[in-house]
């Protein structure tokens, strides 16, 4: 079949007004259905004619999926809340600013105006072989084109690669994991809640999916507990272009410092592996330590133990080391006299 791109194939479109209706439709259409949130990831697949769902279920009309609610000092963010709405939310800004920072660094203003927090955490890998329609492991094939002697894999994984070397590109995911967020998933049978760090799934377990969502599942909300409200946060994203670019790597940390010592901490890195990585070994090592450069450096070195670079992504080792360091001891800003 000759290949042609850039014209969306026809599909049946449903715009349910309630979550219940949406779940009913998902249940009815099973794996034929494609869930459309903001659509920024979906339309690429559809316009490239690589994915051809029979049915598209557009969640845009479901009011209950949208908005930020304060719950017990924490937040419940509807999955269809746009990134801009998250960024501009006063409580997010005040108590959980790391999420605002991360979300604001995603993509471009127009994308943030339409792209949703649920979509941002559930987005697919951006490996250019995979997105180019090459039939790789992630696409159900039997090869990883990005890890071959001639592959160009500058943006790919240095950790936990298993056949597939793609990375998770989300900017809000590491912030959410640092905040100990929980994902609320509903399907026709009921609701389940998973920790943000368990929401993502690596290729070793499921090579064709990025998250634990199964056909019929809907991410309906993200809950942020009060636990880390007002903690010390650090978020940094390194990217090639200062807008509309995926992270070469990003880091998020939430920290409670007491008397100069790190009392509580969560550190998360993304674009290093197929899932955002919570660095528990680093957390354990720095807990109780003074928050200073030495601790940061130790943490950085520890973070990259076991990392395996590919031909073109060796820079990700020092990058991850330095970002983890900064996430713990901060960045030394220049003092130009």
């Amino acid at each position: 079949m000759a290949i042609i791109r850039d014209i969306m194939p026809a599909f049946e479109l449903f715009q349910p007004a309630t979550v219940g209706d949406a779940l009913g439709l998902l249940d009815q259409h099973g794996s034929d259905a494609w869930v459309l949130a903001g659509g920024l990831d979906s339309f690429d697949w559809l316009k490239d004619r690589i994915k051809r769902p029979k049915v598209v279920i557009d969640l845009s009309q479901i009011a209950e999926l949208r908005g930020v609610k304060e719950v017990n000092g924490g937040l419940e963010i509807g999955a269809m809340t746009t990134l801009t709405e998250v960024v501009r939310n006063p409580i997010v800004k005040e108590k959980f600013s790391i999420l605002a920072t991360g979300a604001e660094l995603a993509a471009s203003p127009q994308i943030r105006n339409q792209g949703t927090i649920g979509g941002n955490v559930s987005q697919d890998a951006r490996c250019w072989y995979y997105r180019g329609g090459w039939k790789c492991y992630r696409a159900g094939g039997n090869i990883c084109f990005a890890d071959t002697p001639t592959a160009v894999n500058r943006e790919h994984a240095i950790l936990h690669a298993d056949r597939c070397v793609a990375v998770n590109p989300s900017d809000s995911a590491p912030a959410l994991i640092a905040l100990e967020a929980q994902m609320v998933i509903r399907n026709a049978k009921g609701e389940r809640v998973v920790n943000a760090e368990d929401y993502f799934v690596g290729p070793a377990i499921d090579i064709t999916h990025m998250t634990v969502l199964k056909p019929g599942d809907l991410l309906t909300a993200i809950r942020i507990p009060a636990t880390w409200a007002g903690a010390q946060f650090y978020f940094e994203k390194v990217r090639d272009r200062q807008v509309w670019d995926f992270p070469l790597m990003n880091v998020a940390s939430a920290m409670v410092v007491n008397g100069g010592n790190i009392e509580k901490i969560r550190v998360v890195i993304n674009a290093a592996a197929a899932t955002p990585l919570r660095l528990t070994a680093v957390e354990d090592a720095v807990r109780g330590q003074p928050r200073n450069t030495a601790t940061g450096e130790m943490a950085g070195k520890l973070a990259i133990v076991g990392a395996e670079p590919l031909r073109y992504n060796g820079y990700k080792l020092p990058l991850m080391r330095n970002l983890v360091k900064r996430a713990i001891s901060g960045v030394e800003e220049p003092k130009w006299a």
Partner: protein, 209 residues
Amino acid sequence: MAEKNNMEEAPKGISRRSAIKGVIAAGAVSSSGAYLFRTSTVRAQQSAAGSVERLVTLNVNGQQRRVDVMKQETLNTTLRYKLGLTGSKLGCDRSECGACTVLIDDVPHYSCSILTHTTRGKNIVSIEGLEANGKLHPVQQGVVDEQGFQCAFCMPGFVMATVGFLKVNPSPTRAELAHGVSGNLCRCQDYDKILTALMKGAENLRKVS
């Protein structure tokens, strides 16, 4: 051109399951111009019960426009090929360049990357809708004042992004405005002059409002 029709604004948020389960016959609306992306003669797109109806009313530039819209149709296609509004350009069709930017309920969106059906019941403003009473919008006037832009293929998108951004931040610094329009690409790379022109536009807008 599509007929103007004030009668049938699609109610927002109605459960489609409970809505009328009508299958609109293909070709029923042939008034929407000849340049249709599969809307009429070739192959009827079957509608399943409960799915969206193809005949919709859109609020574009303050007018109610009745139009036959394919399920997979993007707003940009509808504007350009069905409503004759070719001011919104298609530069990449992948939400990367911003040339297609329009305002939907005052918020800048890439019209190439939103389904027309998603915009039912919302106020859509394209570059053609900025002029009022034969006068350029202050932001447009800023561009004229400063001879902003070169080839100007990106211009409608930049102007719309600016108009949207200024609704949130009417007095931006140069750097803030640059962030505001950073979802738009100019390949003539005339960013400096563009920014000067848009800053002038912001100034013009502050004067009139």
